[in-house]
Structures are given as C-alpha cells and as structure tokens.
C-alpha cells in the first residue's frame, strides 16, 4: 500500500491536467471492473506530440498514472509514444504493487487508442 513520494507528488500536483482545446487526438478509456476513467487529449504535429493533457477519475494510481503519462508524452515522437510500456509508466511514479498495476494498463490503453485515432485518419 505505501506509495512513493513521487507518486504522491503527482497526486498533489498533477502535471498537464485538463483538456486541449486544439487537440487532434482524444481518447478515453474506462476500466469496466472498477469504473476508473482516463481521458487523454494530445496535439500531434509532424509525428511529434506537442502537447498532452489528461483527466482522470478513480483510484489514486489511475490519477498518478494519468499525470505521469501526460508529462512523459509531451515532446516525444509518436513512435516513442507507441513504444511506451506499462512498466515505464509504473517506474515513472515510483513503482506500484501488483494489485494496482491495472492503473498503468489503463493509461497505456488510453494512449494507444488516442494514437490509433490519429493513424486511422
């Protein structure tokens, strides 16, 4: 149960919270089991993520993963973003007990969905 300091900091001071008015990739994922929600909005230009914002509802790991993910995405290429793993998100918030790792999975799913949206166009 103990959360890392960086985890708590993401919670107390979320990075990149909100929605982008000029996003060109938006996706929301819901965890069907617990109802946690994560919404990502990205502004992608020339295969690079210029800006990323998140909104999240649910247990603390979901919020922290959203914040960490949005922060990691900004400035990265779409290719880099596609390669992002669940573990990288987990590491970014200082680790998660195995029972909580579904939060990072939700984040990665939301990201893939958002990226697929761009690719589909």
């Amino acid at each position: 149960m103990p959360y890392s300091d960086i985890f708590k900091d993401h919670l107390a001071n979320p990075r990149n919270a909100g929605e982008l008015p000029d996003a060109n990739a938006i996706a929301e994922e819901t965890n069907p089991v617990c109802g946690d929600r994560l919404r990502l909005s990205l502004r992608i230009k020339d295969e690079r993520i210029e800006a990323g914002r998140f909104l999240a509802y649910g247990c603390a790991p979901t919020l922290a993963c959203g914040s960490a993910l949005a922060e990691m995405l900004e400035g990265s290429t779409v290719e880099e973003a596609r390669a992002l793993t669940r573990q990288e998100v987990i590491d970014a918030i200082g680790g998660l007990s195995s029972r909580k790792q579904h939060a990072a999975a939700l984040a990665i799913e939301a990201l893939r969905k958002a990226l697929d949206e761009v690719a589909d166009r």
Binding site: M1, Y3, K8, L11, A12, P14, A17, G18, E19, E28, C34, G35, R37, R39, F54, L55, A56, Y57, G58, C59, A60, L63, G66, S67
Partner: protein, 391 residues
C-alpha cells in the same frame, strides 16, 4: 481526524499499564505471588470494563480485540445452538469481522438475512420482527456503525428478542458489536438486553490487540480458542496483562469523561460540517445526522474518488478513512455507503472524518482548509466534474 480507525493511547492509560510492563510481569495463571498480582490486576480491569456497560465482572471475557470478540460471539453461539436452527439475522452494514464470519457460516449451510438500512443507515425494528423465523438462533446488529456512526435500535431489538424468547423460542440470542459505540455513548446491558456485546480497547484510548466480549450469565457458547483454563474456560491463552490493565483504566476514564467527550466531539464535528458545507459544493452527508455518534462525519464528494482525497489530505497532515479502516487496503467502494442506496460514484467518494477527545477547533479549521484544497484539485482533473459543468 481518524479516531474511528484507532485512538492514541491516553497517557493516564500508559501510566496504569507501565508497572505491568516492568516489575509486575507475572502470568495470571500462576499460583505464586507474581501470578496472583497479575490475576488481581486482570480482575480489577474486568470490574472496570463491567462497570462501563453495567455488567457483572464474570460476564466479561477478554479477547485479542473486537474482531475476536465478534468471532467468538457469533461462532461460539452458533456452534452451541445449531441443533435448534441455522438462521441468523444481521444488518447490511456490519463491520467486516461480523460480515466475514457470517459469510463463512453461510458457506457452511447457514441462512443469513441481511436487513436493509435505507438511506439513513438505520435498521427498522419492523424488519427485524418480520425476519425472525422459528429457526433463528442469533440476531447480530451493531450498536453504532464504524463508517457513518449511525446508532441502531438495539434497545428495541433487545426487547423484541426477550419477548420472542419468552414466547417459547428459547434459543434465540442477541449480539451487538459495540466496538464503535463504547466510550462514545453510554451502554447498559440491562437496558439493551443483549446477550453478547463486543468491545475493543483501541477505540477507547487503550492499546490495540485487546478486546472483550460480554457474555450474559446463562448464555451458552462454545469457546473458539481452546486449551487452557483462562477466562473460566471460555477463552484459552495467557492473558495480555498489561493491555488488559490499560483497557480497564481506559474504560474507567471513558465512564467518567463520557459526557464531556461527547459534547466536545459533537461541537467539533458540527463546526466541521458547517464549514465544509459552506465551502464545498456537491457533497452528500451519509447516514442519519440526528441518529449517530457525536464524533463521526461521513461525506461523499461528487466527481472524485476517496483514495486520492485521502492521500491529498494525508500529505497535508490530515488523517482520514475511506470505507472501513479494515478494508481500505482494497479499492472496492464501501458496502456501507452502497447500502444507503448511494450510487457507485458517491460510494467511492465517501470519506470518514472522526474526531477524538483531544482534537481542537484549530484541528477542525486546518482540516476544512485541507479538504477544500484537495477537493478542488481533484475535481480539476476529474472528467466527471467537467461533464457536470457542461450539462
């Protein structure tokens, strides 16, 4: 702000137990003087506990906590009474230690009726009456709930059980979990007429790991922890003398200071609720506000989830609980709040603030500020909050 989860140990209680952590280390089962000294100390504590609830000393059995008291009461009575029936009545909002044992019995062929508590979090006596069957051997309804503090109609249930027993259903017993109620409201087992009543030291400014079960004289119960003559054969195992002494002292103090503590926590709680209500929108108070312990406030904050709020508050030095302390390791929404008919979102957004005798006005004001900040921050990232704005 989390005094329902546990309380700090009163310094007078520490002082009372200290001699038993140092020189007076006897085993209460030993015949020699060290043993007799320990035995006398345990018996004094037994009288102190008995006196808190107007019981007789020999009706008190010491246990390792409220959980064991509940296990012993329910399993003990059910084992003894099973020839007469295998039906139990309980409420939908019992503590996990009652809920868990009943689920275990259910798996072993018992039938459990779980009474609704409606939106106020209080069981209705008509429902209890209607649920009694010929094969009902136990009614277990808590005195006061651990999450929302609501006080159940235990006196009415006690009278009903007594009447049912007198009309011929001899093997019906009434157990009440008074772990949260004890030290917070006056308890009189003659008044409540319960047959069994559970207590826990650490909710009363004494150490964790000690509790007691009141077993009314004449009530048959099978011991659960076996193999020793302690506690008149009702609970084997070397008595935790220092903790028991502490528990006794705490009970004595609780009795003496009951009114004062009640007034104090009620004043703080009301101050807190008024301020929160004036500062924060979209909140729902959980549990009948006129019929609850003076020290508890349970509030659901819309659009956000309790765990994040808890961590936010913790970082600001304010300790609170989501759901029951015991089940907060898992992230299921509180079954108690759900039993009030609240939707999933409100059940997940419920936070329990619980005040103690040593809290101050300033603690309350700091907490209100912290809550306001945390709720604002979490709502700013919540998709639910955004959606509610746009509709």
């Amino acid at each position: 702000m989390d005094h329902s989860a546990t309380t700090p140990i009163d310094s007078r209680v520490v002082d009372a137990m200290m001699p038993y952590l140092t020189q007076r280390f006897g085993n209460a089962s030993s015949i020699h003087q060290f043993g007799q000294e320990a035995r006398a100390a345990v018996d004094k504590a037994r009288r102190q506990i008995a006196s808190l609830i107007s019981a007789r000393a020999n009706e008190i059995v010491f246990t390792s906590g409220g959980t064991e008291a509940n296990n012993l009461a329910i399993r003990g009575v059910c084992e003894a009474a099973q020839a007469h029936g295998r039906h139990i009545i309980t409420s939908a909002i019992e503590h996990p230690s009652v809920r868990g044992v009943l689920e275990y019995l259910e798996k072993n062929g018992w039938t459990i009726t779980r009474l609704p508590v409606y939106d106020g979090g209080v069981v209705r006596i008509e429902d209890v009456r209607a649920a009694i069957r010929d094969d009902t051997v136990l009614i277990s309804v808590m005195m006061a709930n651990n999450e929302i503090g609501t006080i159940q109609p235990v006196k009415e249930i006690g009278a009903l059980v007594r009447a049912t027993r007198e009309s011929g259903q001899k093997h019906l017993s009434f157990h009440t979990d008074a772990v949260q109620a004890s030290g917070r409201i006056p308890i009189d087992v003659e008044h409540v007429r319960c047959d069994l009543l559970s207590l826990s030291a650490h909710k009363m400014y004494a150490p964790k790991g000690t509790g007691a079960l009141f077993i009314r004289r004449g009530v048959r119960l099978f011991p659960q922890q076996i193999g020793g003559h302690q506690e008149r054969e009702r609970r084997a195992g070397t008595e935790s003398v220092p903790n028991i002494v502490a528990f006794g002292k705490a009970a004595e103090l609780a009795r003496e200071e009951m009114d004062q503590r009640q007034e104090q926590t009620e004043r703080l709680r009301d101050r807190f609720e008024e301020k929160v209500q004036s500062r924060i929108d979209d909140i729902v108070f959980n549990g009948d506000r006129r019929r609850r312990l003076s020290n508890v406030s349970n509030i659901s904050f819309r659009f956000i989830e309790g765990e994040g709020l808890l961590i936010h508050l913790d970082m600001q030095g304010v300790a609170v609980s989501t759901g029951s302390a015991c089940s907060s390791g898992t992230l299921e929404p509180s079954p108690v709040i759900k039993a009030l008919g609240r939707d999933e979102e409100l059940a997940r957004g419920a936070i329990r603030f619980s005040f103690g005798k040593d809290n101050t006005d300033e603690d309350v004001d700091v907490a209100v500020e912290a809550v306001a900040r945390a709720v604002e921050s979490l709502r700013s990232i919540s998709p639910l909050a955004r959606e509610s704005l746009s509709t």
